[in-house]
Every structure is written in structure tokens, then in C-alpha cells.
Amino acid sequence: MSCPINSKAELAKLSPEKAEELDVYLTSLPLTDDRERNRGFLIQSLHKAQEIFTYLPSVVQVHVANRLGLHLAEVYGVISFYSYFTDKPVGRYKINICTGTACFVKGADKLVEEFQRYLGIKLGETGTDGKFSLTGLRCVGACSMAPVVMVNDRVYGNVTTKMVPEIISDCK
């Protein structure tokens, strides 16, 4: 699809180890010359890339697009569609407040306010020290524990505004 621009070299400027890790993963996929087939591997490739780089800056998108034989616009279209993917840097601790129906009914909006106040950042932002990001997400499937807050992979259930300082102090 694309001419042989060395997008891996560009990526390596960001981090040689991470570039290598992503490339090893992409090489392990059964990619072919058929871009329509390769398209089926796009979401999992982006998941992996975001796991490695914590976010999906343009150079990562370009490299994934090149390896899969897709256009950058197509890759960006997918990233912008799914709220899980982000092309902005995120903090080491991603605080995700579920704002799905059940959690919302149980007061997720108050949790959002409290986290915003406590961290001094708004929903969708990352603090200047790069430690915390605050985002809202839709249902995580743990409605019996509503309202739910996820910090990276850890799940907090039945969260009250009083628990906010405690959750933050868990992030060391």
C-alpha cells in the first residue's frame, strides 16, 4: 500500500524498546498483501500498541497503518470511534469512572465532581505531572457494584465520594 518509508525508525525515536516490542507483535500476525484481510487485525494491533505506548501518538498510528497496508485516515477513524483508544498521552494511573446507566443512577456524577476537585483536572484530562488521567467510560459490566471506578486494571465497587482520597492514595 505505502512506499517504503521507514516508519519503524520514526517510532524508534520515541522508544527503541517499545518500537521493537510492537514490531515483534505485528510480525507475529498472519498479515498478507490483502489489506481487507489485514483490516481484521487492526483493533487488536491498536490494543497492543496502546498497551505498550500507553497512548497512540501519530507515529504509532502511521507504523500500524504501514504494517497493515492501511491508510492513516482509516486507522485514525477507528481510534476516534472507540473511546477506549486515545491519541493523547495519559497518566500512569488511569482513573476511569463508569458513567453507564446503573452507575449514573447511583451517583457517578458526584464521583466525577469529587475526582475533578481532588485532582484539579477535568474529565478527559491528564495532570501536568503525568501521574493521573481522569476519564469517564460506559458500562464495565459490574453494575451490581455500582457506582464503579477503575484505576488501571483494579476495580473499586460501591464507591462513595468519601473513598476518593483513599483510592488516590492507593496509587503509589
Binding site: 512506499c3 518509508i5 501519530s58 485516515a73 477513524g77 470511534f81 491519541d87
Partner: protein, 579 residues
């Protein structure tokens, strides 16, 4: 075959055809918006079914079905105009309009807008739903295309044109829900992308969301500036301009167009066909040199700025094989502002060169940094066929009643070889006419290379040039170009010469031509037929026999490929980022 009934009328269609196809067969007009059938050798059908304007009732199904993407099946009973269908279509349109600007009066697309037409057709005189309106920035970053996402109805036709037909890959749906918009990655400006400015997205857009950058006012200003303003008209303009004035597609309007341009106030009316002949002199010389040396083959034509930008972004490893010749538009500018300016005793900076082109990429091309061989911009202003039509209307000129007149000398003299540049295969045929004569040293009479003609997306032919069997290929539409280039890259195909045009069908289907609506196939065939008719009727049909071209070499350039030719008529290419 599949049998079904529509509005109680029986109809037969073949496997794979849709309910919409079946309705068309019966002469039933079902309104569509998002549906797009691409033509000109690029058989792509976009049936996203996103607008739901084409819904019909199917017996036995609880929901209405979009006819454009519902396959016809045996025994189907379809009703296309029940009250339920009519109400649903009106509601869909009403909802689309609720988030669409209401400035139809001043919209660029007014009169050619399919959304506007549909509102009239469905008799929608009042917009029931009022709600939030999308707010997006208008992208005016490029020389060629304006992107106004506020007018976008998310039909995704431009995406199909850009990604599937052209495989340029700039446009994609971005975001989701109400905020969703079609645009480039990061919603960056078009000027910072690999957009080729071919304008096929503009041709595909049913509304005013994608339009050309309007240079008509700039052009009126130039005409009234007191400077010497010369105009050149591209080959494909003359066979399409008449459509804008209700003339039959395929009318050759050259003489009327020349009269109109004189009436508008241009000092001299010249022909890009002249510089097409000049291009053949230079390109054929280059071709024969490469044939002899066996190096850098196949030679690729370089007349099309959309195609040039395409390979600069996406095929940098092949950048040594395109011809170094500038396009006829740029050759014209360089010669007008040097040779001709000197002849009439005008300084280059006191001359303004205007081009009328079937193309939107030509606007971008004229603004490329390197095109100032005359010491100033070689081509100052580029307007499309559509823009010329609107200027003629603005000037109150009754186009169809005009007397015919001739181009001015010397840059208005041309041959049949020049005019066929407007159709896919034409540049190659013109080059072969000259190459065959030059290689054999004869004035050959067999000059109709019909194997390279026609609207097919990829054509191949083996043509005798003297003792040589020249293997030629022609592609139109960048998706087809990509297929050819990938073969060359892998060493799977051996050609000597390849012509590539960005737009499917060549310039006659350029992004700046009058909109063809649903009659694209028929109109393109007629424009093409008109081009070859014009060639057939020409007194001289070989570029190297053009008396004004001979004189230009005698008086000024020396010979093809001379140092001065290289300075004025040749160029170099730049690798660009593939994003």
C-alpha cells in the same frame, strides 16, 4: 434470473442486483443520496445505506428496507410509493435538514445540490425538527478544495471516491454519534495530507460539503487590472462546457467558448492543446532516448498533477521513471511569459496567465513553488470548467447563441494530437504518432491507435513503432494506477510507456467538470466521442507537424531536450510524507 414485482409490475433481474436496480429497470425513480456508482473504468458501487432515503416496503418484512443495498430475491413483492414509504422518506430528509445549514441561496452548490433537489422532489416545504446544529471548522487550507463539514450529511460518498476508487486514503469517518464528521486523520488541514486534489470527492459530494476553491472573482479582477491577460483552455473543457448551458453532452463548443472568452475581456485566447503538442515534442524525445538506452523504463507520463502528487507521496521508490516533462498547463505558462511576452514586448510580470481546466489539482499545481521558470508565477489563476460557466453566466453572455471564432496565434494553433489529451489514452496515442514518425523517418498515415482508446480503467497494447514492439499501458483512476505501479514495483510487468491520469476516464471526467448527476456513464462516453471527433476533423493530427510548434523551436528553444527546453519545460519531483 430473479423474478419479483415492484408496484405490482413484474420485473426480472440477475443474481446480485439490488431492489434499486430492479426499480430502475422498470423506470421507477427511487430517490437516493448516499448511493454512488462510480464510472469511467472504476466499477465501484458505494451502498452504505446510511441515508435511508431510498427505503421501500417489502411484503412480509416488518421494517422498511433501503433499496440500494437490499438484494433482489425471488418472489419479492415491493411497494415504492406507499404512504408509509413517503412519510418515512420525508422524515429522513427532514432529520437530515434539521442539522444542515439553511443558506442555500448563497451556497456554492446551489442548483447542483442533490439534497436541495431531493427536498424539492419530495415536496418538503417546512422543516419540522429543530435541534442542535453541528459546528465544525471550514478547511480552506488548500489551493483546490474547500471542506465544509457543516454541510456534510455523512453519506460517505467522498470516502468511497477517495479510498476505494482512488485509493488515495485521505478521508475517513472521524469520531462517533452527533460529533462524527468525515475528514483526514487528526482532522488536519487537507494541505498537510497526501490529498492529490483530484477532486473526485467534490464530484461525488451530493451537497456543498466539498467544493472547489473559487477563483472567479480573482479572475475578474485580473481581467480588469490593465495588464496583458491571456487565457489557455484545456482540451477536455470544450467537450463539457456546453452542458452547463443545457446543450447536449458531447457538444464541441470550442468556437463559442473562444468568443465568450474574448467578450469577457481576455487580451488573447490561447489553447492548452498547443502546449500539449509541445509536451509531446519533449516527452517523445525523452521516451526515444530511454528506449535506446534501455534505462528508466517504463516512462510514465507526467501531465496530471493529481497523479504526480500521488506518486510523490505513495511511490517514492519509483520517482525516477516518470517523465521530467511539465504538464501542458505549466509549459504554456512558461512559454507565454518568456517567448510570447518577448514577442509582444511585454514583461513577464506585466502578463497574467489564466487557465481554464477540467481539473481542481491544476489550481494546486500552478501554486507549486518551482513553477516560476519565467521569473514570476508561470500560471497565475486557474479556474475550472464549472467556474468558467458561472463567469459566462455572470457576464450575461447567451452562450448557445454565440458565433464561433478561432484561437489567437501563435499559442492557439494545435493539432488533433493535442485535443486527445483530454481522454484517457490520448497522451500516449499522441506520443506514439510522433514516435512512429520519428523512428521511421516517414509521415505515417495509420495514426489511429484505437487499442489505447476507451473508458476501461486499465488498457494494454503492443504497438509497432518502426521495428520496435512498444508495450504500452494506460490507466485512469488512481486505484488503477496503483495496480499497475505495484506490478512494476514487483517486476511483474514489463512496459515501455505508461500513461496515467488521476481521474477515471481521464480529464474529461476531471474534478472541475460540470456535475454529471446520475448520468455519468452516458455523459462520459459522449464527451469522449466528442474528443475523438474533434481529432478526426483536425487538419493536422500530429504534434510535430504543428507549424507554430516548429516555429517555437526554430526561433526560441532550439530543439527538443535543449538546455532552454530543460529550463522552461522540465521539472523535478519531491518526495512527500505518506500521511
Amino acid at each position: 434470473m430473479i423474478n419479483l414485482t415492484i408496484n405490482n409490475l413484474p420485473v426480472q433481474v440477475s443474481e446480485g442486483q439490488t431492489v434499486l436496480d430492479a426499480a430502475h429497470k422498470l423506470g421507477i425513480d427511487i430517490p437516493t443520496l448516499c448511493h454512488l456508482k462510480s464510472t469511467g473504468g472504476c466499477h465501484v458501487e458505494s451502498k452504505t445505506g446510511s441515508c435511508r432515503v431510498c427505503v421501500v416496503e417489502i411484503d412480509g418484512r416488518p421494517n422498511l428496507a433501503p433499496s440500494c443495498c437490499t438484494p433482489a430475491t425471488e418472489g419479492m413483492k415491493i411497494i415504492t410509493s406507499s404512504l408509509r414509504v413517503i412519510n418515512a422518506r420525508r422524515t429522513m430528509l427532514d432529520l437530515l435538514l434539521s442539522d444542515h445549514p439553511k443558506d442555500c441561496l448563497t451556497c456554492e452548490k446551489s442548483g447542483d445540490c442533490q439534497l436541495q433537489d431531493l427536498a424539492a422532489k419530495l415536496g418538503l416545504h417546512r422543516i419540522k425538527y429543530k435541534g442542535e446544529m453541528s459546528k465544525h471548522e471550514i478547511d480552506v487550507s488548500s489551493e483546490s478544495i474547500v471542506r465544509d463539514p457543516n454541510k456534510c450529511i455523512m453519506c460517505r460518498r467522498c470516502e468511497t471516491a477517495c479510498n476505494v476508487v482512488q485509493t488515495v486514503g485521505v478521508l475517513s469517518g472521524v469520531g462517533r454519534g452527533f460529533e462524527a464528521v468525515v475528514g483526514p486523520a487528526d482532522l488536519r488541514p487537507l494541505s498537510e495530507t497526501k490529498c492529490t486534489f483530484c477532486g473526485q470527492c467534490v464530484a461525488a459530494c451530493p451537497t456543498g460539503a466539498l467544493t472547489e476553491v473559487d477563483h472567479t472573482y480573482k479572475c475578474w479582477n485580473a481581467i480588469n487590472s490593465g495588464k496583458t491577460v491571456v487565457v489557455q483552455t484545456a482540451p477536455a473543457v470544450r467537450v463539457a462546457l456546453g452542458e452547463a448551458f443545457g446543450m447536449e453532452p458531447g457538444s464541441v463548443t470550442t468556437g463559442k467558448m473562444v468568443t465568450a472568452l474574448r467578450m469577457m475581456g481576455f487580451s488573447k485566447v490561447f489553447d492548452t492543446d498547443f502546449s500539449a503538442d509541445l509536451t509531446i515534442m519533449e516527452e517523445t524525445t525523452e521516451f526515444i532516448e530511454r528506449l535506446k538506452s534501455g534505462k528508466n523504463l517504463p516512462i510514465l507520463t507526467s501531465c496530471c498533477p493529481g497523479w504526480v502528487k500521488f506518486f510523490e507521496h505513495q511511490f517514492q521508490d519509483l520517482m525516477h521513471i516518470p517523465s521530467t516533462c511539465k504538464s501542458p498547463q505549466q509549459m504554456f505558462g512558461a512559454i507565454a511569459k518568456t517567448y510570447y511576452a518577448k514577442k509582444i514586448g511585454v514583461k513577464a510580470e506585466d502578463m497574467i496567465v489564466v487557465s481554464v481546466m477540467p481539473c481542481l489539482a491544476k489550481k494546486y499545481e500552478s501554486a507549486r513553488d518551482e513553477f516560476n521558470a519565467s521569473g514570476t508565477r508561470d500560471v497565475d489563476i486557474v479556474i475550472s470548467t464549472r467556474e468558467l460557466a458561472s463567469m459566462i453566466k455572470e457576464a450575461g453572455i447567451a452562450f448557445d447563441h454565440l458565433e464561433e471564432s478561432q484561437y489567437d496565434d501563435p499559442l492557439g494553433e494545435s493539432t488533433g494530437a493535442g485535443v486527445i489529451f483530454g481522454a484517457t489514452g490520448g497522451v500516449l496515442e499522441a506520443a506514439l504518432r510522433t514516435a512512429a514518425d520519428w523512428v521511421t523517418g516517414k509521415d505515417l498515415q495509420e495514426i489511429d491507435f484505437t487499442a489505447v482508446r476507451g473508458l476501461d480503467g486499465i488498457k494494454e497494447a503492443t504497438v509497432k513503432v518502426g521495428d520496435l514492439e512498444v508495450k504500452a499501458a494506460i490507466s485512469s483512476g488512481l486505484g488503477n494506477a496503483r495496480k499497475l505501479l505495484e506490478k512494476i514495483r514487483k517486476g511483474e510487468a514489463q512496459y515501455h510507456i505508461i500513461e496515467i491520469m488521476a481521474c477515471p476516464g481521464g480529464c474529461l471526467n476531471g474534478g472541475g467538470q460540470p456535475y454529471t448527476g446520475g448520468r455519468c456513464d452516458e455523459i462520459l462516453a459522449k464527451r469522449m466521442e466528442a474528443i475523438y471527433r474533434d481529432d478526426k476533423n483536425a487538419k493536422i493530427r500530429k504534434s510535430h507537424q504543428n507549424p507554430s510548434i516548429k516555429k517555437l523551436y526554430e526561433e526560441f528553444l532550439g530543439k527538443p531536450g535543449s538546455e532552454l527546453s530543460h529550463k522552461l519545460l522540465h521539472t523535478h519531483y519531491h518526495g512527500r510524507r505518506n500521511v
